[in-house]
Amino acid sequence: MTTTTRVAPLIDARGLHKHFGPLHVLKGVDLMVAPRELVVVIGPSGSGKSTLLRCLNLLETPDSGSVVVDGIDLMDPRTDINLARQRIGMVFQSFNLYPTMSALGNVTLALRHVAGKSAAEADVLGMAALARVGLADRAGHRPHQLSGGQQQRVAIARAVALEPRAMLFDEPTSSLDPELVGSVLAVMRELRADGMTMVVVSHEMGFARAAADRVVFMEDGAIVEQGPPDAIFGDATHSRTRAFVGQIRA
């Protein structure tokens, strides 16, 4: 275990099980993330890492287990899940920007409809969020007028604008051309520097090595091993971890 257990975890997921039909995708996964911690989840495709991430804001409902984020029990039927989700930003592999709206429109939608800001307030906050990802000058552009990297940065701004307590990233750079990956990772590093708690599912080993506090290796619906990046990438305990890390680097 890591040394983060002394602080109350911001994300506290325990005993998560999830089936998709006959497939047992999560087989009793525990994941605790301390405030300001950056956890990178790695593992082969189909290992359940995206499903785990999507359970942390209940985009997937676990069959059993508990998910507590910032003290809110997401599995409690009395919990207003829409209110809770405002505190947990999410960034997707395929960006999922709203194609009919400008970059600013994408960022302000939830500010207006969820956070209850006036249009003027939302515009100010939205512009600030876009500035934070270096895209204030693209506020009026539609998604299709932006590069993949810019689209993903707008998606980050859209989530950050609600001032979440934690951010979830589901393979944020996997659908980007290699030369655009850096700009997105740079924004994520800045978020990290600002103290954002982050869980990142990623194949970017360079990023994991440099930025992560902890790397979690998943395989076949379970966490095989976790620890500081040096340990996971340097001398992992499990042969399966070593095999996967070796493959990725090759």
Binding site: A84, Q86, G89, N96, Y98, T100, L109, H113, V114, L162
Partner: protein, 219 residues
């Protein structure tokens, strides 16, 4: 030939034809919104979490798309009185079109909603938008944009189908033309009605072509 297009008779029948055209427009203004309302209702129900509701919607839309609207109309107009329920022609039109065209509109809207990638709703839900908010602000605007040509095309069909009302004694354009025909023993009023239909709908066909052309290259 002169019998087929007798300007004098058309002129004499013109007040009837004009009233008929206005009635056709009024009838359209009644049944199109009804059909659209039913279509939206059914399409939204088809996204229900309950399997029973979804199957119910499928059964309903399939049934009323399989049912010829003319048969439905005559059944309502001629059959219901025997069940002790006597409805006027306009009411029968409203019910028949609510059932029939509502099912067609529903399929168009549902197809549009299904064409919106699931990631769009997921992104909205992950930001804290509720089910209804997501539908209203994200899914429906994109869905309607995608199926606008089909909606307009369907609406044109519905307007043309209002001529069915002539069978149940609603004095719309075709009914008035046939009345004029039997009064004058001359088909010219029917010819005039046909021209009126075409002239009234022509602009909408043009708009439809525009929409289809604009939709085509980007898909």
């Amino acid at each position: 030939m002169s019998d087929f297009f007798d300007a004098g008779i058309i002129l004499a029948a013109w007040p009837m034809l004009w009233r008929g055209l206005l009635t056709t427009l009024a009838l359209s203004a009644l049944v199109v919104p009804l059909g659209l309302a039913a279509g939206f209702g059914l399409a939204l129900l088809s996204t229900s979490r309950s399997r029973a509701v979804r199957w119910g919607v499928i059964g309903w839309t399939d049934l009323f798309r399989a049912f010829p609207p003319l048969v439905l109309l005559i059944l309502l107009y001629g059959g219901l009185p025997f069940a002790g329920l006597e409805l006027g022609g306009v009411a029968c039109m409203a019910i028949a079109f609510f059932l029939n065209t509502g099912s067609y509109y529903s399929e168009v809207i549902r197809a549009g909603m299904e064409s919106v990638p699931p990631g769009q709703s997921e992104a909205a839900r992950s930001l804290g938008l509720g089910t209804w908010q997501t539908l209203r602000t994200i899914v429906l605007p994109q869905a309607l944009r995608r199926v606008l040509p089909d909606l307009v095309s369907n609406t044109l069909e519905v307007v043309k189908l209002t001529s069915l009302a002539s069978v149940v004694a609603v004095p719309e354009l075709l009914y008035q033309a046939r009345q004029a025909q039997s009064l004058t023993y001359n088909p010219s009023p029917i010819f005039a009605a046909a021209v009126l239909y075409a002239v009234a709908l022509w602009p909408f066909v043009k708009i439809l072509r525009r929409l289809e052309q604009r939709a085509a290259p980007s898909r």
